[in-house]
């Protein structure tokens, strides 16, 4: 079981969270073409190793946050080495 560090609630079981995947910046609907939408909707880095990803604390504070996780070893660390907390 993963112990995920929610910036607002502290460490909780991964089963409290929903995995929201790689952070994808939403294209600007005014200017984005089909290729950009395709990238946003479908293409994923799917990296083997350290990745940055979003989680949703479904059974807790119900807020999204980002964390870095190693997809091979399941090690966890805060984004950029510093905790992104409620002040961000």
């Amino acid at each position: 079981m993963l112990l995920l560090e929610c910036p607002w609630c502290g460490g909780r079981n991964a089963s409290e969270f929903a995995y929201a995947g790689e952070p994808m910046p939403r294209p600007d609907p005014e200017s984005a073409g089909p290729a950009e939408w395709r990238g946003y909707l479908y293409l994923r880095a799917n990296r083997c190793g350290w990745t940055r990803e979003r989680w949703y604390h479904r059974a807790g504070c119900r807020r999204f946050f980002e964390i870095e996780r190693n997809t091979q070893t399941h090690e966890l660390r805060p984004v950029g080495g510093g905790a992104g907390g409620p002040d961000e």
């Binding site: 995947g21 089909p34 395709r38 293409l43 799917n46 990296r47 083997c48 990745t51 399941h74």
Partner: protein, 419 residues
Amino acid sequence: MGSSRSRFSAYSLVRQGVSGRPWPRMWRRHELESSYDAVVVGGGLHGLATAYYLAAEQGWSRIAVLERSYLGGGGSGRNTAIIRSNYLTPDGVRFYDHSLRLYADLSAALNFNVMFSQRGHLTLAHTDASLRTMRWRAEVNKIEGVDSEVIGPDRVKELAPSLDTSDRVRYPILGALYHPPGGIVRHDAAVWGYARAADAHGVHLHQETEVVGIETSGGRVTGVRTNRGLISTPVVANCTAGWATTIADMVDLPMPIQTFPLQAAVTEPVRPFLHTVVVSGSLHVYVSQTDRGELVFGASVDPFASYSTRGSLEFVEGLATHVLELMPSLDRLRLLRQWAGLCDMTPDFAPIIGRTPVEGFFVDVGWGTYGFKAGPAAGQALAECIAGRKVPALIEAFALERFETGKLVGEKGAAAVGH
């Protein structure tokens, strides 16, 4: 078959048993050559089938299969060995039906017993919504000539008496999609059969050979860098399932794939009592009994992307809860082991197979949780695609371009369990 290989038969079994000589090796070891006409990356079911059909049906020689670890050590040796063709889209049904037919003749074609067992496949419905999807699937299946029908709880009880079909459970069984041609195949045997037959056709199988880079020039493939040296080749086929993105990255080809582990488990062997494959989408479990008597369980993919093949306790807890709701009589049975395999999930649950914008770089990936049942047809179609100028009709719908054109092949409704 090449003359150097012995043929398996009742006669050879007796002769070998009486003589006491060791059986000949199933495939040979080769030096890595500096060039091949085609290099298949990934020595699993799909890679070996591709190499076999490229040699046996397309007449190619000088083919290499590169496997980082040992043959069949990835998804091919970790799946739950179920075959079926009761899919949701006509493209999917046609494809998997063809694959099922190839499996039916595979033992004879490869001269290797793959233990093909067409024992019937039940997908249980516990809600009106899933019953509705099953009716839809049954109609699509029938139009494509695939035996598939919706049956009621009484018939379910006849086919699998160990199931609790009463209404005193949390999710009563309302009916099922019954698919008589479905069943199981011994997954390792399929891998070994293809490897042995490919070897007999002159394919070089290189184990412990890791691809570390792919050379391109002017938008086309020119070679493959491995831990054992450089190979020049005009054709590279990516058949690496869960690792597909890491290989596609070597030619800078972005892929619509995410890798999720899928866990499975097996019990101690018991006498045969379960004669069909039973699947419950709502309870996230599928189960079949092997010829040795063990019950093999699979489930949905893990809740987050990962390349780790470690099992987890919450999987076993959830699995046991759900299995006991379906079959309360199994409460004394012990689990022997659990494991995980990597699934290359696509946005529409359909595979990506065929050409890519990089000339000479072919993909046979994105099979997600459907890879084992697809192996023979995927290998045959990819071999045809590599050898010919035209993409075979069987796989036209599964091209990588569909994510650009928007012509997705929504196959999620045919998933055995909710993902």
